[in-house]
Symmetry: C2
């Protein structure tokens, strides 16, 4: 089983994924570029259902059987999970260091049976189905009441960390709250007091008024290039209605989010030559766990997504100290994406 | 001039480097991989001194002139600086957002006149000269009393962010303290109180006793694979003597650091197929500025370097929420590097 380890100085948690760990010989030549060949065999394609662990959820044509063909969206446990379901996790002290067993959930959302159809290319109703599937899995995992936080993310392209090219997202549920989310929660609480209201709502209001960094907006969502963007063409997707959890979305809002994502993902694909990207959900911790020690989650926090293209020609970078250099002002990025 | 912008929620500062900014057409095709050809012309090579801004420091053979051949280590302002020297920086409010003009220093340390000679390959006395040069620049920039923090880092290889392959490091001095350093300072202060002593000294003591994660040690330095390593083969280089600033090093310690770096950089080059890497100095803020609002810097903090190889075959990655997955336990990494 994997291990969760806490960095004493930064408070950051790391999964040491021993299940994925390599033998010494795997390290030799580790610096060499991977050959970028097409996947010769894809376990996520229709017809290969037996090559994944048994599905935990799927949208299927009536009359079809689990782990058979006939699905449109399919969720399976990760075959090489970073974390595993198991006994309630216990903290362990190793000298001054803290660790715990790697108890958690690691699932893969296979977004379409069609290997070549990207999330930006699927029809809107299908994209809505993907979002409904993610929503359904979040609700189900949170009801297990063992995991403080459900992380949802999508790595597209090898340079963004994807090891398989078939369109998919990942869900990782952890017994602790990630560092950046914790910081955002505390910060949101502090800024709520300062501004007498949700700081995210306030930012959205200011940006919608200024219109300098807005990339997209409709009745329920807006997409903006953040004022202090770390990376060129970084984007944040916000629901206009204040809400701390993606799972709170109404069916109408889910439709709207599908249209929003289709629009911005198509734009970065078309205008930036189909770059690799990371998409990350930021939401409040598991609401089914009572956590007296966390800032008032639903009042202060506002869920959103971050989209970060990985761009070779205009890369921004981190100096290694939490300080970023970005060569593309967000106003220029928004202007370019608006066309 | 560039702009420094603060992210309201995270407190993170970003340099929006407009001097480096691109025209809209530069964005098209931004996702395409850069062609990895050898540099056809290198402004850092001996003989091309006129192609860089005038040098601010150099170690030269007696009788040679500035900006001529005859140097062994040379420091020049970055031709495309992220920050520029200028008027004292002023904070500006844009609605609820905070920014300031991009006043700062951005220099390049050209580590050798020889394009093909890496830092791990230069003779020990030369490596010591590079370190003495960095030390000298830090002291000089800190005496300007305008910059709260001096960042020193090395990106080797395109995948690590280097745009030129000639061996070089960079120095960026900023009017503010980077987020991660700030966090480390506060954390070090808090943990000093808890453990009645420097937490870094305590970690070094525990690790030197255990010997499970020590990659190298001599009379003055040790290198360890951190307990909660984010990346495979991540390393931290610590002086054994408690000190908050690299510039405090004695000549004997500088010799020792040169030998330490040569050992570990040669190891990752030889054993991991010459991977790209990032090397980052972590030290306390500028001691020549009196900063009443910062935790007792020299008592609590302990300077160190982080070395992060960029490894294609065993990549660790971040989930986008400050949570990392690392497939190589640091004990395995240390064992492998010890051979």
């Amino acid at each position: 089983m994997s291990q969760l380890r806490k960095d004493l100085i930064s408070g950051r948690w790391v999964i040491i994924a021993s299940e994925r760990s390599k033998r010494p010989d795997d390290f030799r030549g580790a610096g060499e570029a991977r050959t970028e060949t097409a996947d010769s065999f894809c376990p996520f394609c229709a017809g290969n259902e037996s090559k994944t662990p048994p599905e935990v959820y799927a949208l299927r044509r009536e009359g079809t059987q689990p782990d058979q063909d006939g699905w449109s969206v399919r969720v399976v446990p990760n075959k090489f999970p970073a974390l595993d379901r198991g006994e309630k996790t216990q903290r362990r002290q190793e000298g001054i260091f803290e660790s715990m067993s790697g108890v958690g959930v690691h699932e893969v959302v296979i977004e379409t049976p069609d290997h070549g159809l990207e999330l930006s290319d699927v029809p809107l109703p299908h994209l809505r189905d993907v979002l409904e599937t993610v929503r359904s899995r979040i609700i189900s995992i949170e009801q297990e009441k063992q995991y403080q936080y459900v992380q949802v993310f999508k790595n597209k392209g090898r340079a963004a960390g994807a090891s398989l090219s078939h369109p998919h997202s990942q869900i990782i549920a952890t017994p602790i709250i990630p560092k950046r989310i914790k910081e955002e929660l505390y910060s949101a609480e502090r800024l709520f007091k300062k501004y007498q209201g949700c700081i995210f709502c306030r930012i959205i209001g200011q940006e919608m008024g200024l219109r300098q960094r807005i990339v997209y907006s409709d009745r329920h969502f807006c997409v903006l290039a953040p004022f202090a963007s770390r990376f060129p063409f970084e984007m944040q997707v916000f629901p206009l209605r204040h809400s701390a959890h993606l799972a709170d979305m109404t069916p109408e809002e889910t439709e709207s989010l599908a249209a929003t994502l289709k629009s911005v993902l198509s734009k970065i694909k078309g205008l930036l030559s189909d770059p690799p990207y990371n998409l990350v959900l930021h939401q409040a911790p598991n609401p089914s766990l009572v956590q007296g020690d966390w800032p008032g989650m639903s009042k202060d926090y506002h869920w959103h997504m971050e989209i970060m293209p990985v761009l070779a020609r205009v890369a921004g970078f981190e100096l290694g100290t939490g300080f970023y250099i970005n060569p593309v002002p967000p106003e220029a990025a928004a202007g370019f994406l608006l066309g």
